[in-house]
């Protein structure tokens, strides 16, 4: 029973793909298509999600500031976005592998 419970917890933990922070959502997935004003992503639960890009959206490639032009179909992306009406508007799009940032402590 304990084992089943533990498995359930682990499954529930790894079941997270769209991590919500109030109005903010975190999407992980693979880029399926790119247009001038949006990115379509196949999320980690096989949902197709279109995310709107604005002039305020920032791009980050392997931890360094980047541009939308550097993003390609097939790239893995992590998108932080906010719900605006029926649209999901990205404020940060991260892609490219890098080492995890060190966490500053005081």
């Amino acid at each position: 029973m304990k084992r089943q419970f533990a498995i359930l917890i682990v499954i529930g933990f790894f079941a997270s793909l769209a991590l919500a922070h109030g109005n903010e959502q975190h999407l992980m997935g693979v880029v399926k298509s790119i247009s001038k004003s949006s990115i379509t992503v196949q999320t980690t639960n096989n949902q197709i999600q279109e995310v709107t890009i604005t002039d305020k959206t920032t791009f980050e490639n392997a931890g360094a500031p980047s541009r939308m032009d550097d993003l390609k179909v097939g790239d893995r992306v992590v998108i932080h976005a906010v719900k605006s009406g029926d649209k999901l508007v990205a404020h940060t799009v991260r892609f490219g592998a890098r080492k995890a940032a060190s966490v500053h402590s005081r």
Partner: protein, 194 residues
């Protein structure tokens, strides 16, 4: 006659406000913003406005202030001073974009006074003891002046100094692992709220 018009206008405004309700998501009206700015300005004594920054603007002091800002201020003001954070966007009044003229046009002493004493009826707390020689606050004034010239590299560096909860650190690690190709993209199915 003027008094009657003012009373009628006040009653009409009151009815509109009561019907609409109160929400921190709203933007303050022009009238509220004007009154609040004037009141804030009046709340800073003229002696404080005339204070000069006694701390030199050196790269070391600027770096120290940058770390201080990332650790204490960025949660509302954002690393780049835009105020575009979950808290900043949803406060009433909204956290201002400190790169703009409304903030950059204030005197050094005025900025220092606000850091030390806060602003009543807003989200800005008093961070100091109210004296005029808090070096850390004066260094922050230098950093506020630097905000319009903040580089993406500086901003990125500050991100590593932002305070994070254990859940945020775990989430950040999950996202990084995914970008590094260490987890399969098609296994997760349920949103997690926190």
């Amino acid at each position: 006659m003027i008094v009657i018009v003012i009373v009628i206008a006040a009653v009409a405004y009151g009815i509109v406000v009561i019907r609409h309700g109160f929400s921190a998501r709203d933007n303050p009206s022009w009238l509220e913003s004007s009154v609040a700015r004037k009141t804030r300005s009046m709340a800073v004594p003229s002696s404080a406005k005339n204070m000069k920054n006694p701390v030199p603007k050196t790269p070391e002091n600027l770096k120290e202030a940058e770390e201080h800002w990332a650790d204490h201020c960025a949660i509302c003001h954002a690393n780049n001073g835009s105020g575009s954070t979950t808290i900043g966007r949803n406060l009433y009044p909204k956290t201002p974009d400190m790169r703009k003229a409304e903030t950059q046009g204030m005197a050094d002493g005025e900025l220092y006074y606000i850091i030390e004493n806060g602003i009543r009826l807003s989200g800005m707390p008093a961070w100091g003891e109210g004296g005029d020689n808090d070096e850390a606050s004066w260094k922050l004034v230098h950093f506020i002046r630097h905000l319009p010239q903040l580089t993406p590299e500086e901003e990125k560096h500050m991100e590593s100094m932002n305070p994070k909860s254990p859940e945020e650190k775990q989430e950040e690690q999950q996202e990084q692992d995914f970008l590094n190709g260490q987890s399969e993209p098609a296994k997760k199915s349920k949103p997690m709220k926190h």
